[in-house]
Symmetry: C2
Subunit: 158 residues, 2 copies
């Protein structure tokens, strides 16, 4: 639907704004990536609070991850995560076969080098949402063929 | 609905990101405002293309403005503009009595000095949407009591 496109376009503009310096040159990659991740983190942290405010408390870590794959992903990307895998030791892999921010870029390996900057906001979004639900983690993303991608969540045990 | 909150939170983060420098200090006001306006412009330019792609061509300037107040505002802010006025000489005033980006900040004159940075993205959004529909303009915003605000559109004739 057209309304959803607003979020997509806004996301694209942020990526483009953050990764370009005032002089129109590409910024230091790490710094720009870190900013995008932070914007995602704060957005995710607040958004999951709103989303889960009428739900009962989650029983365990796996339930939290399932809610992220289902409710959170649907609210943000209008589809569920296609596959969730875990090693039962704090590593979860969320696979989205048609990730929305990549779907309009390519459906092959072409432009693969551009993919990371369109994933890092979502890594932050995930990390923020999980932090808000009490799980500290590191999130990384991986793409082999667009528009599919995998987000790997490493939970940090206290 | 919770889904709409995502756009609100993302907007808040962008405002906060752009108006703060790396050192955590407030950036030069004009520069930050101009960046926010540009992000809004590009977003609005693209979004209106998507929104109007199945509509027939607009007859005149007034029809464009009506579509902005009704379809565009509803798609972005989930409500219509409450009042549209014009002097029939290229100046249009769009009044929103409960502007979404201000509604969560205050419902009085308190914090009035913070309002401009939450309006400038929308000024750009409007300017971009109108540019995409062939109307060059300058957009300014005015608030007297939050969360009501007025956007003034000055069309630039060729």
């Amino acid at each position: 639907m057209a309304d959803d496109a607003l979020f997509d376009f806004l996301h694209m503009e942020i990526v483009s704004h953050v990764t370009k310096s005032d002089a129109g040159l590409l910024q230091d990659g790490d710094e720009a990536m870190s900013k995008l991740e932070q914007i995602g983190y704060s957005t995710g942290y607040r958004f999951i609070e709103r989303l889960t405010k009428d739900l009962s408390r989650f029983k365990d870590e796996l339930e939290v991850m399932k809610a992220i794959c289902k409710d959170f992903w649907t609210a943000v990307f209008k589809k569920q995560v296609d596959n969730l895998r875990t090693n039962h030791q704090g590593v979860y892999v969320l696979q989205d076969n048609k990730f929305r921010f990549l779907a309009s870029i390519s459906n092959s390996r072409q432009y693969l080098e551009l993919a990371p900057k369109y994933l890092v906001f979502t890594c932050g979004l995930l990390r923020g949402a999980l932090a808000s639900l009490g799980l500290t983690c590191i999130v990384t993303a991986e793409v082999t063929t667009m528009p599919a991608c995998k987000f790997q969540v490493h939970l940090q045990r206290a």
